[in-house]
């Protein structure tokens, strides 16, 4: 396989020999013929279709269900590399929960002058309704999906914190299931850490976060916007794997001071609600009055301790891209030590000097909307045409505070099985983190997203990215 010397390839390193984590896999690969791999790739697709692991693409007809392409070459991480990542993630997630508690209470970080006040109080994701309220265990974000990118053997960066409602964990689990079915022999040869305990761990963490009002074994439910939501498969998958209820707003109402679901025998209270709808839609009486997805009055019940919501409302402020630029300060402020995981250098376009620099160097930068996600509304400078750059420049000048900019990172590559055999493609990594009153757990693995187009740096599934199984080795 030809590698590109500008990028670190996780299998081939500098291009001379396979790196250690890929040694066993490489030995197996040498004995495989490409045709069999292609056939297995076809079987993987059939498996995904039969299982119904699909997503709906916004803007297309409601009935369109698409598959996210799956690549059969795993992404492999050494146990030692992983342990370092986990320490960094643990530190970062602890800091985020402490930060959220602080900004909704005493705001010491603002008093200490470490971050500007307006960044909080004028932030759309800040919820005044949460001020002075402490969720059970002081946990705001229970479920996190920290996006990491790699640029060298020891160079990892946090790209996004995804502290509100990270998605994709069903792909972590189904990708592994697919690999086990297609290549069982690999798992007897190579000691890969298990990811399958994720649903049980999540269930335990959710149950442990039950409010004071809960009686007996906590009743847990997942709140979905419904069957047409792009992540509906994941919602039903998680409910199924955890053995909990999958509810919609129309199943819920307030009964005797509790949030209750309509069962075949009447209304039964819910203790913990893992909601997969945004803050704005949660309670039409408090937030967006037009929302049909939420439950009128749920915020009152929440504040009175009648239900636990995960993640807590108002958590989104921690994965705002403008707040992101302050994460090194935030981590240090709450943990007393420097951040173990690096941030990507970030220019806040709201600041005149930064804006001037960004406009000057637009063709070399990646520019993102402060509240954007899914790869929408972003500019990848080096890949943009002159016209695109000019159009974006106009948008930037009009509303600079809506944007941040970052240098274009030399994302690492991992081989995929392309039509012409193995070929390097850029990847990122989203490990899944669960926070409970008992501690923080990071599942050894995660979702590797891969840009299938040669040279592309955009890995989002909505922009044609695919996924890979992610292996963490027992050292």
């Amino acid at each position: 396989m030809e590698t590109d010397s500008r990028f670190f390839d996780e299998m081939m390193g500098d291009g001379t020999a396979r790196r250690a984590p890929y040694a066993e896999y490489g030995a197996w690969l040498d004995g495989e013929d490409t045709q069999r791999l292609h056939r297995m790739s076809g079987e993987a697709e059939a498996f995904f279709r039969r299982t119904g692991i699909t997503f709906n693409v916004y803007g297309e007809a409601a009935a369109t269900e698409r598959l996210i392409p799956f690549d059969v070459v795993p992404r492999i991480i050494a146990g030692r590399e992983w342990d370092r990542l986990v320490k960094g993630i643990d530190q970062r997630v602890r800091a985020i929960n402490a930060f959220l508690h602080d900004i909704y209470h005493r705001r010491e970080i603002i008093r200490a002058g470490r971050i500007p006040e307006h960044l909080i109080s004028r932030n759309e994701a800040y919820l005044p309704q949460m001020a002075g309220f402490s969720p059970p265990g002081n946990i705001y974000t229970h479920i996190v999906g920290t996006d990491l990118v790699r640029t060298g053997p020891d160079e990892f960066f946090v790209l996004e914190d995804n502290a509100r409602t990270p998605s994709g964990v069903s792909y972590m689990l189904e990708n592994r299931e697919t690999m086990l079915q297609l290549f069982p022999e690999l798992f007897t040869r190579i000691p890969v850490k298990r990811v399958q305990s994720y649903p049980a761990t999540l269930h335990r963490a959710l149950s442990a976060s039950a409010p004071a009002a809960a009686r007996g074994a906590p009743v847990v439910a997942i709140l979905t916007p419904g069957i047409h939501n792009s992540a509906y498969y994941e919602h039903s998958f998680l409910a199924d794997q955890m053995g909990v209820y999958l509810v919609e707003g129309s199943d819920l109402r307030i009964v005797n001071g509790r949030v209750a679901m309509r069962t075949t025998r009447g209304y039964t209270p819910i203790d913990v609600l893992y909601r997969r709808i945004d803050d704005d839609f949660l309670d039409p009486m408090t937030f967006n009055p037009d929302s049909l997805l939420g439950v009128p009055g749920i915020m009152d019940i929440y504040r009175a301790g009648g239900i636990t919501l995960t993640n807590a409302p108002g958590t989104g402020i921690a994965d705002d891209k403008a707040i992101y630029s302050y994460m090194p300060e935030i981590v240090e402020f709450y943990t007393g030590e420097p951040a173990k995981l690096k941030n990507v250098e970030t220019y806040r376009c709201s600041e005149p000097d930064a804006l001037a620099y960004v406009l000057e160097n637009l063709s070399e930068l990646v520019v993102k909307e402060v509240h954007g996600s899914g790869g929408y509304g972003m500019l990848v400078g080096p890949a943009a045409s002159k016209a695109e750059l000019e159009a974006f420049e106009a948008k930037l000048r009009k509303r600079p505070s809506n944007y941040i900019a970052q240098p274009t990172l030399a994302l690492s590559t991992v081989p995929i099985l392309s039509e012409k055999g193995l070929a390097p493609r850029h990847v990122d990594l989203r490990p899944y983190v669960i926070v409970s009153p008992k501690g923080i757990e990071v599942t050894p693995g995660g979702l590797t997203r891969v840009a299938l187009k040669e040279g592309s740096l955009v890995v989002n599934s909505s922009q044609g990215g695919g996924t890979k199984d992610t292996w963490v080795l027992e050292d």
Partner: protein, 313 residues
């Protein structure tokens, strides 16, 4: 369990059952079209009225031919009464209740949908029709097999079965309703070959030709066929069989919940009235009236079930 989930299961299996019944009707109609083309048009017309789609059909087609009826019932998704629309609705309900189904049942349902979608992508040629109908029957048999082989016998299973039997009872009753005149004694005295074809068609449309021969031998008579389809509890598509299953599903839920539902009362009442009748008394009071009453009661029972178990809030 959630009321919505119970409702989703109930409707999932109603749609599956309904699509299977439509496939049987098409099969029976196609037989007639092959052998007696002169009566084919009447037969297609009666099939369209059996499935209750006369208006929708008239809006789309001027004549009742194999081509128009088969296309309308198999693959026209612009109305909810085609097999493709029903399989799609069954699958949508299955997605809605995914957490209540085993992986096997879900995958069988999803696969049924995928196979039929590619099978019915283009108009079905006459010569491919037997294969297409066989595939539809096989696919729904796979879903039923997965249900019986992998699901716990709990409330989930009982709601699935309630949907099946309410739908099946209604379907058999509608076939009798549309064809009752063939079974009237006065007509059967005519004894023309046409009538035999009609009887056969009725038996075929409930997949009961073999079963009938095993029970009554090879010589169908109107009262025996009517008795078989209404009262014979060994026959899995008879009104009595479906009804007794509905009662036992509702009785299971009453025992499980510790509460007797109004729908169980209603179902048992239907049973009591049926128990007081014989095929002779039915003919005496009028077959048509009896069937009409049954259809009405069955619909009301379905509605009561939806209320009792809070399918819709």
């Amino acid at each position: 369990m959630l009321g919505k989930t119970a409702g989703g299961l109930y409707w999932m299996f109603r749609y599956l059952e309904r699509s299977e019944n439509a496939a049987r009707l098409v099969d029976a109609g196609f037989r007639i079209a092959l052998t007696h083309s002169s009566v084919a048009e009447d037969e297609w017309k009666s099939i369209i009225s059996t499935v209750g789609e006369k208006t929708a059909f008239a809006e789309r087609h001027d004549s009742y031919t194999s081509g128009t009826v088969v296309d309308f019932l198999l693959r026209d998704t612009s109305h909810p009464g085609s097999i493709m629309s029903m399989i799609e609705a069954a699958r949508t309900n299955a997605r809605l209740v995914r957490t209540a189904l085993t992986r096997e049942v879900w995958e069988a349902t999803n696969e049924c949908y995928m196979v039929l979608r590619s099978l019915l992508e283009k108009p079905v040629d006459d010569r491919d029709l037997p294969f297409v109908l066989r595939t539809i029957r096989q696919q729904s048999a796979l879903v039923r097999g997965a249900l019986h082989g992998t699901m716990l016998r709990n409330e989930i299973f009982n709601f699935a079965r309630l949907g099946t039997f309410i739908e099946r009872a209604g379907s058999t009753a509608r076939i009798l309703d549309v064809k009752y005149y063939v079974l009237l004694p006065s007509v059967s005295f005519v004894g023309a070959p046409l009538d035999n074809v009609q009887w056969e068609t009725i038996l075929r449309s409930v997949s009961a030709a073999t079963a009938y021969r095993q029970v009554h031998g090879g010589d169908p008579t109107a009262p025996l066929i009517a008795d078989f389809l209404i009262f014979d509890r060994r026959m899995p598509r008879s009104l009595a069989f479906c009804h007794s299953k509905t009662v036992s599903n509702l009785a299971y839920l009453a025992a499980e919940y510790g509460v007797r539902s109004p729908s169980l009362d209603r179902a048992e009442n239907i049973g009591v009235r049926m128990g007081e009748q014989t095929i002779d008394s039915v003919f005496e009071q009028g077959l048509h009236q009896f069937i009409q009453d049954f259809i009405h009661e069955n619909n009301a029972l379905g509605y009561t079930i939806e209320q009792d178990f809070r399918f819709n809030g």
